[in-house]
Subunit: 496 residues, 4 copies
């Protein structure tokens, strides 16, 4: 069995060396191996990207965008295969993987607009006979380091726009489910990217550190957990690189007494348990305002959860699949246990879920925990599993205080019919992405994705308009054409 | 003699403690003292800013901008006094200080446009019945740390926009010439800023480190030398703060054979020696393409420099004044000496300049050095004095290679009449601010200021449009109002 | 008694000829006379504007904006005098005139941002080695024709931005209350506009037609009644001019059953009767959904109206003043009479209002009419008086249908607490300016003002971002610098 | 032989009635017939568009854009067939038709960015607790009337963006070469446009007038000759419609003495004779500065033109093909004759060109006329044939005066190496589209196309950013959610 290698300078290569197992989490079985790039291999990829940069930078933006148009088309044509590759290694059900891919494709669509998005600002007569304009020039080689939970989508948040802006790219996907990313990158080459413009290296910390330290890499985009994000950000920054590092989350939904409770339950069920809760935008805490709302919520959630179907990715009738690894399955179950120990009420306990024929899979069933309080471990940390916590408060202000005091500030939402409540909430809450009756307020591809507090390190958000700014460097030109024959006096003062 | 204190929560205060001397560099005499804030004093300022934030954040942008309109008016009314304060501590001649102030006021003018600049993006129907929009919300308390060479202007690059965006501010001006900054900040309060919105602390490393470490400070803007910029950037970044840190420069002008040589000499004389060369945009290296251009340049520069008049700030007929300190005077002279030792030709040597009646002043005369080569100390380092180096190359490509290989990338310019040369240069040169026949390509206030390479640490440039992005945080709201009575199905997949 | 003349080429002039009386509507007395410009006089103003154009066009935008900064300052310093001039000829109470002036000044503030607003779009490499950019160049001489009801504000909607964009201007204010406009224009000159950049001609149809027909006038902005707006638009358009012509209105407020009725009554009272209803954004129709809402509304409005105080402009305790002319007073009373005749219920009848000591003034008291139906004259036409009509419907849909079927589409609002109702209303209603719990949804100066249907003729709205587009013409430059020595092949095909 | 019918509500229909012949201009033979829609048929199309509007308007912009992505793909797949259809009826050679199609597709690409382009502006706190935002809402049914010379491209300037903005469309292509437009519209339906969103009617003045007069049509885009453009604009405007009408041109190139003459001749040959000069951006006048430049230009043009190959569209080795009709062939020859009669020098006379085997085709050979003066008929009018006029002037100023005094102001260019000349020219010339060393300065699809003077009637240019503004109507929403329990005071004054 050959290990999954790398994509460097337009070709699949393997440079031998270290490797590790790839699992199918639906069965719990090893399905293959992935190479772990050495420093030298990563440097080979960086060198390829560096070599490809000058010509790609000078390719007109409209021609670069045209590659993205073809790339979108190829992604659509190969959607079924991509969905299968995602499912095999990540475990998510096909309808969910399709959603992921569709969101990824939307980022490619946005990158097709590069000629518009790259426009600089032109000012006539900034002084007498002087014009100035700004250009958004590409940086050079940029790197992306992406997580297991959206193996296809998160890379597509990054390199389509980076490349459309004129940069060249080295991607290091998650070593747990890298196959779809590699497959998709090959489609990008097929769409017309010159060799070296997009490279993929599989690897672990050695690869990551090489990307963080190599002087040729101008910028790093990262999505993952907060401790790693912080590490990435501070190391890349210390090396003088531009960096954006997205970390963890604990997303709360406030359920107001006037909320439409059917809608709350329907949307929360999907937002909490979809993709087994392994989403940085998963809704993992419901904060009910008033016991009446809380009791209704608990009752209806129990009812809704009774029909939840957990199982392997290959069966479309399942609502969600396994978690990513055995270790993670145990960690999630540990959080559930701790909740009970620390005094919360386990309303629905998903720890003992059995999936017939897939007993080795890493399954955790949908779990509902009531009476959670702020000091509990299950609340303080990100669980990243199909677990919904319910907290009870007396007022909207109290609910908002809870959210503001949590270390993360990725997403949040409120359920209400009241315009005033919605506006007060969205204005004041210390969270970057806010939903009003929208449980997963993931911005569409033409807005940008970014949490606050310890959910994002860096100035600029991911994808959308901010990506154009992140992947380009401002150059300002000031131009004057002196009249032949006309002489200006010496000027010692600072021009006013 | 009382030491110059701080401006905290709307009032001038002094908290005793450490202080240091303030000099008048034109005479070399001590003119007073400045307090050096302790950690506790800086924390007091931060606390005042923090307390002022909620109300200021909720003040409509148009009302915040209206304070800026009044501020501009007050700055104009007090221009003469400000110019004098600058001159006394910095030494620059009044025409030059007026230019500095005028550029500062332009940044206030730009901040008057905050209501326009703060507009977010609104999208109807990002999904069926779903709307999304972005808001640029203020960060909270932000800090600015500014250099001696533009004591009035650089603070005005920062806080007018920061404050117009809804933040509150703590400024630490240079401890060598802080008086004008303090005076100007009082005008901002007089213009209508509520107490605590703008605070000024004088100090040294203790004050700086407090600003870098205090968790309440959300962002730091810095302008100074590259080693300090790097320190500021990495410490602020490691503390999870947003940071932009502008460092040193070595700005080259390419003199093409087709350049209008009168214009070159006139504009270079001002750009090299104005403000004694103590500008991060000073033109300190002229790269002549071809010996004919070089010889003409040297001859005409000598002639032009013969009439240069150096002396105290108080005499308007002077072209430029002293450098900032005795130590800096010695350092500049050391660079000149090293050039001669390392083989360059001292065409005009300004080391022995005598200013009658001001023998104690820190003067260095205009200096012209020919035959400079890349390995010389005077070329590798930033001199920050009235010294113009001339280098000789055979082609425009060679000149560009010199520039690209230097560690700094702040500003540069080319002198030519040829459209092709201008376009090739501005497109390819690895420098952030480019002039075509413009020796000091400082962007106007409605563009942004930012160098490349080791001249700027951070993603976003100073002032102009980038400042709006630096001083605000993106929040994206996604809103849906469910139809009463209409129920949506449970959705487990990631929405596509 | 000298007639009020014109402001041409920097000086007050009178060219004799026709004139007409100016009234003080608070007393009903003649207060002076205004000259009516002949064709020759208007052409003199156009010629002055034409002569001033080349130099003004080449003045850097930042310097043009600086005149606007000074203009704002002068307007604030002379506010009291302007308010009095407005009151004497228009009759509005000082607090109302102050509001008008403040909104006018906001447009000057917006024009101060011209350097930012005039930025064009710059694209690098639109083809290999080809760059393109757009410039927003001024048009030349533009004209403004303004109505009596906002004698100070509407001219300030127009010329500050037109002039900041580099145009020169001829204003023809209303001949009923021209004094404040003339006074304000003189302040603009005092602020630094060169002679000829802003000219004011008083006059009637002869002046208007001259402006519409003269080939040197590039664009016309108009605000007034719909029949005149239509005339202006078609004549200017037929003459090849750019034109925006704002006409009449009939602004409806929907009062939903869940509305906060105290707020409704408070805000409606001001919006319906303020400035005697002589505002194109006056709220003149309240559409109550359900009889309960209607009955409450009527009862509370009656109560609120009992304390309304009508009287001369000079007494600040008055809520509103007279209407503009005797003829208009009679016309408004005629509408009230017709309502009664056609079957509506006169709840409060303002026809017989008596103002002691001002018996000759053109007063109409606040009037409330219930049970109005769509075919009534008082509903079909714009009354422009202190008359609030109440209509009763059974559903929000029915209320919206009423609004959509009316010929005007200027402003509208809804009172509700419900997010869904607000969004459905604002999305679907065929009206250009929509308020949610805001009775007068006049956009702030940094958005644009424009009705739909027969309330606006033209593509672009007044003031705000649209004004920049209206007062400039796009020029697109495509630039390539061929390499010396490199030859391109003949190209017969359309470049792709 | 069936006449070519219409595309209404998703299906090809013919409604009998009038028709006219379609020619193959390469052979001069009738190749078919086209139906001429009656008023009733056009109204049927309008009704279909009107019926399709509500659902299309509410389709999220991203989904509308996705149809454009598929449309682009289909256009590329059917390029060969489209090129043939263009050639058969218009006569242009395949390489030229490919260029046309490619430029058309670029407009589809731009429309794919609709979600980004439709963003409105959102302002928080325009007043205390008040937010405002703008929406760019679609207009409803819009119409396009397009010329024969770019039968595929000009329709694609219009409806992709109109439709992506949410409008529905009725296209009336030129009745001389309508087949490609109809074929392409069917591809748009195949790409996913719902029936009725895009309709095509063939016809003549009856169809045009119906579109101009029908109250359901909200806007009209036109491209054609100036007299018709003026008619369209004034009739549509009088009917209260939004209109942009692009007319004729007379595009001058200034040839400066420092121009690279090889490049001038190569690019002028294509720009003057490509597509037989039947382009509104054809370069039809070369203005040489100085006799030396003129003599060189004439000599080299003669040489270059010696190898020009004229013939049928089907032979790719031809440089250009026939003109559109027999009548037009005679008209062009008449202009050539008049030039000789009025004193110009016929350097190369294309009147007697013979194309073997295609004697009936409407051919005119490349023609070069020297010593043209401003009063000659051939200069005053648009020839729209393969005729290049040469004028001789003494200075750049004189050349610019010629251009500025011509009634048209579509495109122009200058050939020079000098930065000052280029900047002075592009700044001052009264022409909307300016080239620097670019003979056909057609803006790319992400900029906008618009001439000045009598080359464009209307405020907004075609395609690019302006198209978004033309095809949408601004709605401004101002929203406030009153605090329950908080009451505001009555406000009579205009809010400040």
């Amino acid at each position: 069995m050959t290990a999954l290698g790398h994509l460097i300078n337009g070709a699949r290569v393997d440079r031998q060396g270290r490797s590790q197992d790839l699992y199918n989490p639906s069965t719990g079985e090893v399905k293959g191996q992935v190479s772990l790039a050495s420093k030298a291999t990563v440097e080979e990829a960086i060198a390829a990207a560096q070599a490809a940069f000058p010509a790609w930078r000078n390719t007109p933006p409209a021609k670069r965008a045209r590659v993205m148009f073809r790339f979108k088309q190829l992604l659509e044509e190969h959607a079924e295969e991509i969905v299968r590759l995602i499912g095999e290694e990540h475990g998510k059900i096909s309808h969910d993987a399709q959603g992921e891919l569709a969101r990824g494709i939307e980022n490619v669509e946005y990158a097709c607009g590069a000629p518009e998005l790259l426009k600089g600002e032109h000012s006539k007569n900034t002084g007498p006979g002087i014009d100035s304009w700004s250009e958004h020039q590409p940086l050079g080689v940029v790197a992306g380091i992406t997580p297991f939970n959206f193996p296809a989508m998160v890379p597509l948040w990054m390199y389509p726009m980076a490349i459309a802006c004129g940069n060249t790219f080295v991607l290091k996907p998650s070593e747990r489910d890298p196959t779809s990313a590699l497959f998709i990158a090959e489609l990008a080459l097929e769409a017309g990217l010159p060799a070296g413009v997009l490279n993929v290296v599989n690897g672990d910390k050695e690869a990551v550190d090489t990307l963080l330290d190599d002087a040729r890499v101008q910028a790093v985009s990262f999505v993952g957990s907060t401790p790693i994000a912080e590490y990435i950000y501070s190391r890349a920054s210390a090396n003088g690189k531009r960096c954006q590092a997205l970390g963890g989350a604990k997303n709360h939904a406030i359920v107001m007494p006037d909320a439409d409770m059917e809608n709350v339950v329907n949307s929360l069920t999907g937002a909490a348990f979809g993709s087994s809760g392994e989403r940085c935008m998963a809704l993992s805490v419901a904060v009910a305002v008033g016991d009446e709302a809380a009791d209704t919520l608990i009752a209806k959630m129990q009812e809704s959860m009774a029909t939840l179907k957990v199982g392997p990715f290959s069966d479309k009738s399942n609502d969600f699949g396994p978690v990513i690894t055995k270790a993670h399955q145990e960690k999630v179950c540990g959080y559930i246990a701790s909740a009970a120990e620390q005094g919360a009420t386990l309303v629905v306990d998903g720890r003992d879920v059995q999936v017939e024929g897939y007993e080795g899979g890493f399954y955790v069933g949908g779990t509902l925990i009531d009476n959670v309080t702020p000091e509990m471990t299950c609340y303080r940390e990100e669980i990243f599993g199909p677990v919904l916590l319910v907290m009870r408060v007396d007022s909207m202000e109290e609910a908002m205080r809870l959210i503001d005091e949590h270390e993360y500030g990725n997403g949040t939402c409120i359920y209400t019919r009241d315009g005033e409540a919605a506006r007060y909430f969205s204005d004041n809450i210390l969270v970057g992405m806010v939903g009003i009756n929208v449980p997963l307020p993931v911005p569409v591809s033409y807005h940008s994705f970014g949490g606050w507090k310890r959910s994002l390190f860096g100035d600029l958000s991911a994808y959308g308009p901010d990506a154009v700014r992140f992947y380009t460097r401002r150059k300002t030109v000031t131009q004057r054409w002196p009249s032949a024959g006309v002489r200006e006096g010496v000027q010692f003062s600072f021009p006013s």
